[in-house]
């Protein structure tokens, strides 16, 4: 097998991994802080893709505008959902919010079907990013390279934001011990809303980036949700670094299993998850509570 072919598959795996990274970052941060297993996360991803479609097709704005505007739209939708519904259930056992978000997933999905129809919408790669670029050792599609760069920048930015800013410190404090943060004068309920918005926005961004390379259709969120959960679990619930690493690994496993062993492509990631969990029950970097 040609090295160039392997290389391009490796890059494809990276790109797929990037989508998983963006999706699982939001899911893991929301779980780590709010303790909510958000089943509507995939639906928010799908909303991001449909927002991009609407903004590009009906408002005739360019892709850059989509990339900035649509995650914000999805983030706002997420914040409204958190304030009006999800936040009401924090005091109850976890499965209440699990059921709520599970229901929300279907509601959002069916609402999209009613407005846009069940078939799905075409979405082209923006003109500027069409074609391939010469990397020296191979040609690679510009748009896929663009996804890699955006994800790398965003992951770095998110890390800086969470580790180095005051708001980031408040988010970390909320994750560590929300009750104590509250008792020390932080309005933790708004912090939680913000965090949920951040997670939703990341998911929306993943949807925008995926729109040109995947079908924009109502079930796209549900399809990718399960794999995203696998990524989050392997990475360790609540761990940002874990999600990035696991997202990239799962991207590679999926891509190479399709190339070398197509029948196993759907099951291999679950086998991998089982293997990880047997050796490391908390995943790669699962949080160990300080006072545990």
């Amino acid at each position: 097998m040609e090295p160039v072919f392997l290389f391009s598959q490796f890059f494809n795996g990276l790109v797929l991994g990037c989508i998983y990274v963006l999706l699982s970052l939001g899911l893991t941060v929301v779980f780590g802080t709010l303790g909510v297993v958000n089943f509507a996360h995939g639906a928010l991803y799908m909303l991001g893709a449909y927002a991009a479609y609407t903004v590009a097709t009906h408002l005739q704005l360019n892709f850059l505008a989509c990339l900035i505007l649509c995650p914000v739209i999805v983030a706002v939708i997420g914040m409204v959902l958190e304030k009006l519904l999800i936040s009401k259930l924090y005091k109850l056992p976890h499965y209440y919010n699990l059921l709520l978000t599970f229901g929300l997933m279907f509601i959002i999905q069916d609402a999209i079907k009613i407005f846009f129809g069940p078939e799905g919408e075409p979405f082209n790669i923006p003109d500027l990013l069409q074609g391939a670029i010469n990397l020296g050792f191979m040609y690679y599609p510009k748009y896929r390279l663009f996804i890699l760069i955006v994800t790398a920048m965003l992951s770095g930015g998110l890390w800086l934001f969470i580790e180095k800013t005051r708001l980031g410190a408040i988010i970390r404090a909320g994750t560590d011990n929300a009750e104590m943060a509250d008792a020390l004068g932080t309005n933790i309920s708004w912090t939680f809303t913000l965090i949920f918005g951040l997670g939703a926005g990341l998911s929306g961004l993943a949807g925008v980036l995926a729109a040109p390379i995947q079908n924009v259709q109502p079930a796209m969120g549900m399809d990718i949700l399960v794999q995203t959960f696998v990524v989050v679990i392997i990475g360790g619930m609540g761990s940002i670094g874990g999600s990035i690493l696991a997202g990239l690994v799962i991207g590679q496993i999926l891509t190479f299993s399709i190339v070398f062993w197509p029948p196993g492509s759907t099951t291999l990631i679950y086998a991998f998850m089982a293997l990880v969990l047997v050796t490391r029950p908390r995943g790669f970097f699962g949080r160990v509570s300080f006072f545990e």
């Binding site: 404090a173 560590d176 011990n177 104590m180 509250d182 008792a183 020390l184």
Partner: protein, 233 residues
């Protein structure tokens, strides 16, 4: 002038009632204790004042205004600082971030960093370490320091000397006197009766879910019968 007043406060966890009518008054600038056996409800009383536990009935007022049922961050913003029994240090924040945290919420700063580091040189040395890397004693110092940094008016301290070496207990004693000197009010929960007698001017004894006795430090030291009956000393 009364800074904190509890009137007939009842509080419970799910089924089990812990406080069955706690009444308590603390004047501005006082350093008073809340003493009681293990499980008497001392921590529960502090949590109820802080708004972390909503009382079943009764009234709590701070600086003349009712605070019953307010959320904790509102109460903190009024100037009530809380140092819980387990210290409540954020493991993934650095020492500096932990130190600054309450002042972000309150928007006012009390003790200067210089003054804080003068009293707690260990915190200065470890400023960039994460909270998870601190020893128990360092966590306790940080928990007190961050409340001082935020310019609180009332401190709720839950067993600050628990598990500390004698030298550190002495430091905490010095700090408490310093705090009192600067006009702050302190409600101190202690198991260490000897320490309590060294620093406090008045004691409240919690027994059977109520304050059964309140007396000056001198009275308390003389009255070994009370110590024996309610505290098992």
């Amino acid at each position: 002038m009364t800074l904190l007043r509890l009137e007939d406060v009842h509080a419970a966890y799910d089924e089990s009632q812990v406080l069955t009518g706690v009444s308590l008054e603390i004047a501005k600038g006082e350093l008073v204790t809340l003493l009681g056996r293990n499980g008497a409800g001392k921590t529960t009383t502090l949590r109820t004042i802080m708004g972390l536990l909503t009382p079943l009935s009764g009234r709590i007022s701070y600086d003349g205004r009712p605070i019953t049922g307010l959320v904790p961050n509102r109460i903190a913003k009024l100037g009530v600082g809380y140092v819980p029994e387990e210290r409540g240090i954020f493991p993934s924040l650095t020492v500096s971030e932990n130190l600054m945290f309450p002042s972000w919420g309150r928007g006012e700063t009390g003790w200067s960093l210089e003054r804080i580091f003068h009293f707690f040189p260990r915190l200065h040395e470890r400023a960039s370490h994460k909270g998870s890397q601190l020893s128990g004693g360092e966590q306790q110092m940080l928990a007190i320091a961050r409340i001082l940094r935020a310019k609180m008016d009332l401190l709720l301290l839950d067993e600050p000397t628990e598990g500390l070496a004698p030298l550190l207990v002495e430091t905490i004693g010095t700090i408490l006197k310093e705090i009192k000197g600067s006009g702050l009010t302190v409600l101190l929960v202690e198991q260490n009766t000897r320490f309590a007698c060294q620093v406090a001017e008045r004691h409240n004894i919690l027994y059977g879910g109520k304050i059964v006795h309140t007396c000056s430090n001198d009275e308390f030291m003389r009255d070994t019968e009370i110590q024996h009956k309610y505290l098992g000393v």
